[in-house]
């Protein structure tokens, strides 16, 4: 089956492929693969097929069709879908039916995209492996014993195993790029404010964005074009004219200035990863770009600053889950409200979520607030400034997405610090609010390695151009998983 959305749209519009047949074949694939991968929490087959038939009719009638004309999309389960349960992979929201669509879902609908189902993730997006899901872990399609990365592991695994053509993830500290890298897909975290967060269930509001996870850079540009908009429902969304990002799919990196910050190859970076990413940089140099090693000193504090800010915000965001209005409620009603809240939260949240709520509560507490939260915010300001300085000299910065290849399921769950360390290369972009993409960079011992490219705020155009050139010139780095 054809894997690229942009090619599929062409065939569908040319009436070479009926949407209903194509969507059915995706569900056939899901039926075969899902037992081994477990990418989805909820499938919406009936709705999807109904929608497929509607779009087929549109095409028959010769009506105008949207840019996602019939394409099947997997949606991370922290993005609200009206009437379709949205769980955040948590017991707390196991049967939560949002009465509203996230703004990105409305865009997908407007562009005739089809939601295939809701994908697995770390509970409330807190994790880097999709192991912290109430519904059980997702497996890496390249090696079922390994993690797909996280927290958008289900979305990346669905695309990597062809159980979806496109997927939406969310990225708070790497949650799109990490699984994109681990599953050999493309994942883009847009500039903060480019994509509406309305309907994205918050983990850490000041850091996160919804973004595409796709098989290739073309599809990434297509999906990004469809979901960016100014949204009056999201005060942090930027008022900026909409852009067709597919215009920037240009195979030309001549004169592009690449910076390679040393901090991205710090302690804990595996040799194979370092080697492959450097190969990538040299490859780009080979087709006309210039590179230079550089340094962003403040990045050494990025990881602790990120975790303090993310956990602080999370501790407040997740306070609303008390079982009173929606979500998990203990069956015994004979307690006072304080006890009910306590018990609902004790049984409704998983271990890692509770750990982060407690740590975040601590970081904001009187007496510690200045030492942790405020200091982290200062570091954040420094990191932003360092990136600004760097982008005066460079068009893009490049480094590994993940310091290591996909690890084994169960390998890191016992040591949260080791798990947190995996995010060291992805969190700086979230702290700075800059766009960042992870693209396939090859395989080491059969395991995918991703290369990460970062650009100044709202320069997704540059990012897509470099990523597209990279993929076009080194296509063998991106293998296709089709078993």
């Amino acid at each position: 089956m054809e894997l690229s959305a942009y090619k599929l749209v062409g065939r569908i519009r040319a009436k070479e492929l009926r949407v209903e047949d194509y969507i059915s074949s995706l569900y056939d694939r899901i039926k075969r693969m899902e037992k081994s991968v477990h990418a989805y929490i909820t499938l919406t087959k009936d709705l999807a097929l109904k929608r497929a038939r509607e779009i087929d009719k549109k095409i028959e009638r010769g009506d105008r069709t949207g840019r996602l004309c019939g394409i099947g999309i997997a949606v991370k389960d922290n993005i609200c879908t009206k009437g379709i349960r949205t769980t955040c992979a948590s017991h707390m929201l196991e049967s939560f039916l949002p009465p509203y669509d996230a703004t990105v879902i409305r865009h997908i609908d407007d562009e005739d995209g089809i939601v295939l189902g809701k994908t697995n993730m770390d509970e409330f997006a807190m994790g880097s492996s999709t192991e912290y899901s109430y519904f059980g872990p997702t497996r890496n399609p390249w090696d079922f014993d390994r993690v797909p990365g996280g927290s958008s592991g289900g979305s990346a695994a669905a695309v990597a195993s062809s159980m979806a053509t496109l997927a939406l993830g969310s990225d708070t500290g790497g949650s799109i790029r990490c699984p994109a890298s681990f599953c050999s897909t493309v994942g883009l975290k847009p500039t903060y404010g480019l994509v509406s967060r309305y309907g994205l269930i918050a983990y850490a509001n000041s850091l996160e964005q919804i973004g595409p996870i796709t098989g290739n850079v073309e599809d990434c540009a297509l999906l990004l074009s469809c979901i960016t908009s100014h949204d009056s429902l999201d005060s942090t969304s930027v008022n900026k004219p909409e852009e067709d990002y597919t215009k920037h799919l240009i195979d030309d990196v001549n004169g592009i200035r690449i910076g390679v910050p040393r901090e991205f190859f710090g302690e804990g970076t595996q040799d194979s990863v370092e080697k492959m990413v450097w190969n990538g940089v040299l490859g780009l140099e080979g087709i006309g770009a210039n590179y230079e090693e550089t340094t962003l000193k403040s990045l050494q504090y990025a990881l602790p600053a990120y975790y303090i800010i993310a956990m602080s915000e999370a501790s407040s965001n997740l306070a609303r889950y008390d079982g009173l209005r929606y979500g998990y409620r203990i069956p015994d009603k004979s307690y006072d409200w304080g006890t009910v809240f306590l018990k609902d939260r004790r049984f409704g949240f998983g271990f890692e979520v509770k750990r982060r709520i407690i740590l975040g509560t601590f970081a904001l507490s009187a007496g510690y607030h200045d030492e942790y939260y405020l200091k982290a915010q200062k570091v954040r300001t420094l990191i932003k400034r360092d990136f600004e300085m760097a982008f005066k000299k460079f068009d893009v910065l490049i480094g590994p997405t993940m310091p290591i290849p996909p690890f084994r399921i169960g390998e890191k769950v016992r040591d949260p610090l080791e798990m947190y360390m995996c995010d060291v290369d992805t969190v700086p972009s979230n702290l700075a609010g800059i766009p960042s993409i992870s693209v396939q960079c090859g395989f080491s011992k059969g395991l995918p390695i991703g290369i990460q490219m970062m650009a100044p705020p709202f320069r997704e155009d540059v990012l897509l151009r470099v990523a597209f050139s990279f993929q076009r010139n080194f296509p063998t780095l991106a293998k296709v998983r089709d078993k």
Partner: protein, 481 residues
Amino acid sequence: MKASGTRIGLEVHCQLTNLKTKLFCSCSSDYRGKAPNIYICPICMGMPGTLPVLNKKAVEDAMMVAIALGAKISGEMLFFRKNYFYPDMPKNFQISQYDKAGGVPLALGGFVQIDGKGVRIRRIQLEEDPGKLSYEGTIESSTHTLVDYNRAGIALIEIVTEPDMSSPKEARLFLEKLRSILEHLGVSDGSLEGSMRCDANISLKGGKRVEVKNISSFKEVERALSFEITRQKSLIERGLGVGQETRHWDEVRRITVSLRTKEEEQDYRYFPEPDLVPFVITEEQTRDIERRMPELPDKRRRRFIEQYHLLPQSAEILTRVKAIADFFEGCAKLYNKPIDISNWVIGELLPHIRDKSIGIDELRITPKHLVDILKLMDDGTISRETARFVLQNTLSTGKMPYEVIEERGVKRVVDRDYVKKMVEKVLEEHPRAVKDALVDRKVANYLMGKLMKMTEGRLDPKLAGEMIKRRLSELSKSATF
């Protein structure tokens, strides 16, 4: 009650009742008297994935308050989250503002003049109101707590003063003045139930600061503060000392009850609300609102003195409540006798309002009613006594003064025969007074009083006086013969 070294500061919460919608969503804010939980939406219910969007009109209304109080408006204000668990808060945090930890509230500083004394304002901020808890029966007997979220998300301004007041009376005067200012601005209607609430902090010389929460109306403030001062005074006098703590005003028992001591103080873990961007207020915007500011109580008081030649004290009383000042001016426009009008409003209307403890909006008369009565009095149709009677009757029934006069037959009697008959009746009933009056004509006034009392003041006084005089001189002549 004035204890030496008493310092009182207030935190006043006023709903911006002029707004049609809530602070961060488009739900109706007209929740009073409505069925519970009908004015709610995913945003004010804090449902997962929803985001707040600031009501710009709320900012403008709050800016008017800041300007009226002489506060300095921030060029860029921030919203902060105040975190604590409570079932009336859908998110278990309140979107508010803060003046510490990098927080910038809407405005800082400011000043309110009361009774020749200044009360400094520390800060003015915008925040959302929580929902409302209710119980079936009493708190003690109810097995359930019910929550109504209609109020959750209503726009509030919080006005925090410095501890510049030294008596419960000053606190009340401050609140009355504040309410009058807000009403003149048209941003908050203090007569609506629960639209203005306050917390107070009180410290006496030799004691620590005590915060009293849950004072649900301005009427309660004086009571709560008086209780608290007496309580603290007796502790200090007995050498027990007053520790820092937070207390709760129990309206039913009229006492304060300890909520928590300093060690148990809640930690609200304030931090910037990440879903709202810093709100920029330009000087241009501030100037624009300054230009649109309505007349405020102080200025209006001065104008009343100048334009209507009222006594300063009368002008002060009339401008304490906007509706009363409006009523006075309404009358003055219809009838150019401002001093008489002010006397009637202060001497008759205000006592009625006080006795019945109602708001002026609950009065059943309009300026036209009062003016009609005054005109009838001035043209001699009714006596002053009758005018009072008609006003009281109009106040209780809402009928037009003419109707009352017709109905009750209280029109002034100018029928000579009737007056004559009444005069003879009075003289017959008071033979001793008549005898005295023949000797001392001043006693005639006594008889006149009796006459007016008997006729409920309806006789034309001039005519009645003449008739008494004439009858007395007739009697005097017949006695001589």
